[in-house]
Symmetry: C2
Subunit: 322 residues, 2 copies
Amino acid sequence: MHKIEELIELVSNEIDKLSFKGTPAELYEPIEYIMSQGGKRLRPILSLVACDMFGGDVIKSVTPAVSMEMFHNFTLIHDDIMDRAPIRRGLETVYKKWNANIAILSGDALFALAYEKLLAYENDNIIELIHLLNETAVGVCEGQQMDINFETQDNVSIDEYIEMIRLKTAILIGACLKAGAISAYADKKYQDMIYDYGENIGLAFQLMDDLLDVYGNEEKFGKTPGGDIRENKKTYIYLKCIEIASEEDANKLKDYFSGKEFDESEKLQAIKALFEKYNIKAITEELMDEYYKKAMEILEQIPCEDKTELLRITDLIMHRDH
Amino acid sequence: MHKIEELIELVSNEIDKLSFKGTPAELYEPIEYIMSQGGKRLRPILSLVACDMFGGDVIKSVTPAVSMEMFHNFTLIHDDIMDRAPIRRGLETVYKKWNANIAILSGDALFALAYEKLLAYENDNIIELIHLLNETAVGVCEGQQMDINFETQDNVSIDEYIEMIRLKTAILIGACLKAGAISAYADKKYQDMIYDYGENIGLAFQLMDDLLDVYGNEEKFGKTPGGDIRENKKTYIYLKCIEIASEEDANKLKDYFSGKEFDESEKLQAIKALFEKYNIKAITEELMDEYYKKAMEILEQIPCEDKTELLRITDLIMHRDH
């Protein structure tokens, strides 16, 4: 078994080796830019941890793992256009640093390059990996479209929100773990179980992200906190508060999220106060914990000898502060 | 050998069988919309013609052929955002009918679905086809980026323009023919030759498109003529005219394309008059003919018995009015 730290280095070396030089520069520089930013690189690392856990060859598996990271970065480039997000990982987004057209095109090219990277894997189960990437890509698009719809949709239910983050975020976590299991030639049954494990961890991961957006430290989180509140994003935190608050408080909250003009810091303070009043942070953490427990129940049924590193990285995800 | 007419029907039936139902509707309806528009479906037909010419199984090959058409439609959805094009094939573009975000996402999903369609091909040379699609996709992005750059680039050379249309348009024609040759298990040498044939025909095809944009019939062409002139697109027609016109006329032309405000129909008339003065239509047709001849020289060296249908469809491309 490899320690996470070794796998982080493996991923990092593999990404450093990638070169996105080419012409026209306007197409390749944004790709080089986003791929060299680092970020947590959680997805390829999870992929290698799963591969290792199922007794696979992590050196071979680093290729599909990095392909998944390339795919992830492509989705970020496009999401940031749609969200008009200026900052990501503490740096200007591609959309902001260049423009929307360049972000569309460099994203498209990175998507194709992710498939080309995957082909470098060259094993007899590669079709399974390509199918997984296709399926995941379509699901992520569905999730992102739901997210966009929610902006103008009045009655978003908590179930719909969970389905949206499942598609937009959690299935990619599941897919990365499954990719590792596929490349380790794990039993199909366990491939699906590790996917489900990842989906549950992914849901907890996104709820954590929503919490960090309200309570996170700007420097560590890489973006200005309160972004979801400023943009009136209907996250679980908001939806749950609407559900349990008094009618008066719920209406107050809805009014703040209605798109009317408010003084920004006043709005942020008022909403945080409402979240505090209804203990929303703890309730969200409880839900995160439910998903965590579901994941653990699934993992128990997977008969791998050594689950230490998967548990370690899961723990890092659950207790991250950025 | 199958007649083009049979292959058109084969492609058309296969596309009719595709179903893009799914939720959220905002993601899938634009895909259904663009895929059911028809258009000439030249690319998958070329692919099947090549497959047939090399003795392949056109029934099997219809899967990669249609995948190429799906890829092509994805590029159209994204191009129309970047070009802010309201009309395509006589209908509103996805960007215009819905919005830019929906066009970005439904394009992304269609790109992934094109790869998934390709997987349905299920033959031992599928990796070659996926590699071809990857490579083509990256090239098309490069071409589109060059096209965008030209909008603000002062001195676009004719060579640069040809390189741009080679990447943006011609390589996909080449790739479709090559995909047919691959699925027919043609010799690698002939796969590359039919690609080169397609590239040359593709260059002629795009020059024809540029001519049709100035001289085409609106109803047949599916978009309002003069679009390139209105948008100050530096096509071959424009660049060649600048090259051979008197200094005075060249400056006049440059001035019209400088982005200043002009009365639209006056501008169109003045520019058409300049093109006429320098016989630009005939000069462009000469260049088209050069590419056509190059293509024919290549085709002569491919030892297929019956090239009738490829020559027929090539002839249709060279003499099309829309």
